[in-house]
Symmetry: C2
Subunit: 109 residues, 2 copies
DNA sequence: TTACTATATTGCAATTTTATCATATAGTAA
DNA sequence: TTACTATATGATAAAATTGCAATATAGTAA
């Protein structure tokens, strides 16, 4: 197996592996937004948001266009929808499992 | 936005944001494997592989069954295929963009 | 029991990531 | 020019993650 290829892929996944950056991706799913709109929606610090946008952009996940003082960001990759759905599935499966554990524990008592 | 939910999601994504763990996921895509098979295929240290499997399992991405001394691991979530395809897309788009940059630089010279 | 094999766990130093605060830049307007 | 606004960048300390080496566990076989 070529580890270098997996390292490359890991870089992109790491760009998503952060709550602030995930929130940004999610709020861009319903359209282009300026930095200050994202700051308001997410409730994160401006410098955090700006840095996060930089990371997402340099990994090819979002793009930007500047108009006057404003910078508008938007998703670059439609497949991020599948991505989100995938992890929603995993989370709900995990919860289901934990619920089953809890139920079987109750059954034993 | 509910940051706690995004933290939860981030945990799962982090589980994938590592080259060793990505290799493991990828090699499980064509069927169940024992730990030592995975060690051989990936070329990683046994303790690393074991730890990685633990992380993937506790995040609900893989499952295991024990037979004698062997533990067989397999994927738990079919949507990981989409996931992989998504990032392959992003990588090839990024490369395409870099190639264009390079070409336009050549054009200027 | 002992010896062996497959897998898991622990300890740890090095590296990476994080969030915050302060500051810098670029565009607009007067 | 000065003042203002939107966004980006730098420094830094705390926290999290990494991979390796050593050790532990559990199952098998003699």
């Amino acid at each position: 197996m070529n580890k270098e290829f997996y390292k490359l892929k890991t870089e992109i996944i790491k760009a998503l592996a952060n709550p602030t950056r995930l929130m940004i991706i999610d709020c861009l799913r319903n359209g282009e937004k300026t930095v200050s709109e994202i700051v308001e929606i997410t409730g994160e610090e401006q410098s955090n948001v700006s840095k996060s946008l930089g990371i997402l952009k340099s990994n090819g996940l979002i793009k930007d266009r500047k108009i006057g003082l404003n910078v508008f960001y938007s998703l670059k990759c439609g497949c991020l929808d599948d991505f989100f759905n995938c992890f929603d599935n995993v989370i709900s499966e995990n919860l289901k499992y934990q619920q089953e554990l809890l139920d079987s524990y109750k059954g034993v008592k």
